[in-house]
Amino acid sequence: MKKLLVFLVIALIASSLLFSVDYPRKAVSVICPWGAGGGTDRVARYVADELSKALGQPFTVVNRTGGGGAVGHSAGVYAAPDGYTITLVTLEIANMHWLGLTTITYDDFDYIAQFNEDAAGVIVKADAPWNTVHELLADIKANPNKFFFSGSSAASIWDLARIGMFSEAGVPVDSVTWIPTTGAAPSIIELLGGHVDVITCSIAEAASQLDSGQLKALAVMSDERLQRFPNVPTLKEQGINWSAGTWRGISVPKNTPTDVKAILEAEVLKIANSEAFKEFMDINGFGIKIRNGVEFYEFAKQQDSAWKSVLELGGFIQ
């Protein structure tokens, strides 16, 4: 029995040595916590394809959906830390544990690189009476409880983006009614049909309606104006110190060998900086934001505490 154990330990060490020189030796799973066909899935498939080309082994996207991202992120955390399961992490890793939906936190992952950030927009119907975000906020102050806001479910990132904006602008957080929907697309339909007044969702998701002139964006919650929407002012230029949005990147389970992480980080950064990636993201309306592993970890950490305070503001947690 002892001999077997010793053998196993040696085999394990030997194999980990083998891994470090030669990665990947077999197919790698890329866990996507969101469904096939959605925005995150599209990005995951693109990055997986590029990684397969670069590293010579198939990188296969595995959709592990459910629980508002909880299922996929957990699967990513609890996978063997050998580099053969990597996860496309999204913003939800920083806020869902506050809501008690899961016990895993941002700290359960090692971060490889971030390549995307999509800011929230303040979007209204084209024929709405407001032309700036200040007009809208003044109207809300004058008529509390009159307007319907939407964007996704309650306590989702787009609800939190709205709460943060209100709090920065000095508008009471509960002076509008949040209409929960199952996502950005249904809330766009509600807005088009005139059943809600304002939506705060990823501006990229509403790109085609904005382009065709059915909807107009009063502001975008990014630090600087977006290349894709140069005419949409940021909240910051209008004196509201608030930015919010979703983000995506690649992570691996904690304790993955450093060499494996280094290989992945180099390749993901190479892909993120390529022209082809820029073109792909432009076509799909996604924003690019690149952070390396260390920066990404710091960012996730900062986001984790930032969203906690917004969740408290909204009364979702005590």
Binding site: A36, V71, L101, S153, T182, A185, N284, G285
Partner: protein
């Protein structure tokens, strides 16, 4: 003319044919849905021209929705969620040895229903889309209830048991995160349950596994599948003759299907059930439904293929997806540099016409391809029954797993298989439970979000014009039959 030439060029037609064959294959395997088929064809279609690429997506969605009916008819395992209704009369016909008849009719009606859906898309997309925009929580709530009222129709013989089955389905649908508050209900800390009971594993279990259990419990001596070798071979002309006789059923179902498809938030699966219910409700000999009535085959299959055309309406007109398939399609359109939305009809008129042309062609091509699919599937059934049943168990397990790569869903499937088996022994119909699971969130969420909008008042559920019409329609379904009956009786007694 140019359009026709560009559609018929080999670099368009061959990819489309390939995609359609692929769709038959995927749709026929339980657990692999039409959505999955489309998601899998997209990476290939990126290498094609926009016309060929979108043609492939259309082709694959049409054939996979049809071929989901093949295992539903032969084995009572729906290949896709939209084929749930085919397990009723289609399967009953198969039990009588008329499986190929049912499927040949099914195939032709899928094609014709699909064509009607596309024609409606071409002709009245903008007005229909604008009408659909009028729908909000209040209307969707009634629409959900209207769908549920069909469960009474789906229960053969015993209304109470049908109602019980539907209520149980509604109760099951409350498992998972509540979208209005984000509170996880009945999940017992299990993250796999947070999105609720997987609808596909539940359906595979309820219909497929329960059927296997029912078969094997008769003991080895009696293991037998319905005979598929038919004495009467059905020719396409005969099939068309039968369909001509039932043309009203087909047209009615196709209109219902297109309309439901056009509503964002309702797709081919709901369309099929509602069309079945509407047909039974308006049919003279409604008692035959569920025992192998061909109308019960024609209505749902015409509706689910027509719904595909319908789902493209909000996608093209507003650039918003009506279901998961069009969500993927929108992504593909962006890749080709197309901007879905009102401008697409002016900016890319030619391509839109081309896509319409391919959609029409795909529905015609579906007939020969689908025919081969039926033939191929029938070959499998010539094996010994025990072998087929074991195969069904294996495919059901792997299909339930494949839908989101979750082992948990295999156990969900098993649990529902057992529930279905017990329910059938108690003469409780299964279909209303499925309907309850599908429509539960629609009814509950829209009621509650509607009440958030009104601040707790029910007024708007009755005062908005479309709401009121839908409400009256439900009253008609529930009270219509008995009232008409009473009036008839009263009239007769007066006469005598």
């Amino acid at each position: 003319m140019d359009i026709i030439l560009s559609i018929l060029s080999p670099d368009v037609i061959f990819p489309v044919l390939f995609a359609m064959t692929f769709g038959i294959f995927v749709g026929g395997l339980p657990g692999l849905t039409a959505t999955m088929a489309v998601a899998l064809i997209i990476p290939i279609s990126y290498y094609m021209s926009p016309l060929a690429g979108l043609g492939m997506v259309l082709g694959v969605s049409f054939t996979s929705i049809f071929s989901g009916d093949i295992p539903a008819t032969f084995l009572r395992i729906p290949g896709t969620p939209a084929s749930g209704a085919a397990t009723l009369d289609g399967f009953e016909l198969a039990k009588k040895g008329k499986g190929s008849l049912a499927l040949t009719l099914d195939l032709f009606c899928s094609a014709i229903g699909g064509l009607i859906g596309i024609l409606l898309l071409i002709l009245i997309a903008p007005p229909l889309a604008n009408f659909a925009l009028q729908f909000t929580n209040f209307e969707y709530f009634w629409l959900g209830l209207f769908g549920l009222s069909m469960s009474a129709v789906l229960s053969k013989g015993n209304m109470m048991k049908g109602l019980t089955s539907a209520v149980l389905g509604l109760a099951i649908s409350t498992i998972g995160i509540d979208i209005t508050t984000g509170y996880p209900r009945f999940t017992f800390g299990n993250i796999e349950l947070m999105d609720g009971i997987g609808f596909i594993p539940a359906m595979i279990g309820l219909f497929g596994i329960s059927e296997v259990l029912k078969r094997v419990q008769q003991g080895a001596a009696k293991l037998q599948l319905p005979p598929i070798t038919e004495k009467v071979k059905i020719s396409p002309i005969e099939a068309l003759k039968i369909i001509w006789k039932e043309k009203m059923t087909l047209i009615k179902a196709a209109f219902v299907g297109t309309f439901i498809g056009a509503l964002p938030g309702a797709g081919a699966d709901i369309a099929a059930w509602v069309a079945y219910g509407v047909e039974k409700k308006t049919s003279k000999n409604s008692e035959d439904f569920g025992t192998g009535n061909i109308k019960g085959v024609i209505a749902p299959t015409s509706a689910n293929n027509a719904a595909l055309g319908g789902t493209w309406i909000p996608a093209l007109v507003f650039g918003v997806p009506g279901d998961t398939i069009t969500a993927i399609v929108l992504g593909a359109m962006l890749m080709y540099g197309l901007k879905p939305g009102p401008l697409i009809f002016t900016e890319s008129r030619e391509l839109v016409n081309g896509v319409f042309g391919i959609a029409v062609l795909a529905n015609i091509l579906m007939i020969p391809i689908g025919y081969l699919g039926i033939k191929a599937f029938a070959q499998v059934l010539k094996l010994k029954t025990s072998v087929v049943l074991t195969g069904v168990v294996l495919f059901s397990m792997i299909g339930s797993y494949a839908i989101r790569n979750s082992y948990f869903d295999i156990y969900v499937m098993l649990a529902f298989g057992f529930i279905g088996y017990i329910m059938e022994r108690l003469a409780v119909p299964l279909a209303p439970m499925i309907l309850g699971i599908i429509l539960g969130p629609m009814v509950e969420d829209n009621l509650r979000v509607g009440l958030i909008k009104t601040g707790g008042s029910m007024n708007q559920f009755f005062t908005r014009p479309i709401s009121l019409v839908l409400f009256l329609l439900i009253l008609l379904v529930f009270l219509g039959g008995p009232t008409v009956g009473l009036l008839k009786k009263a009239f007769k007694s007066k006469k005598s």
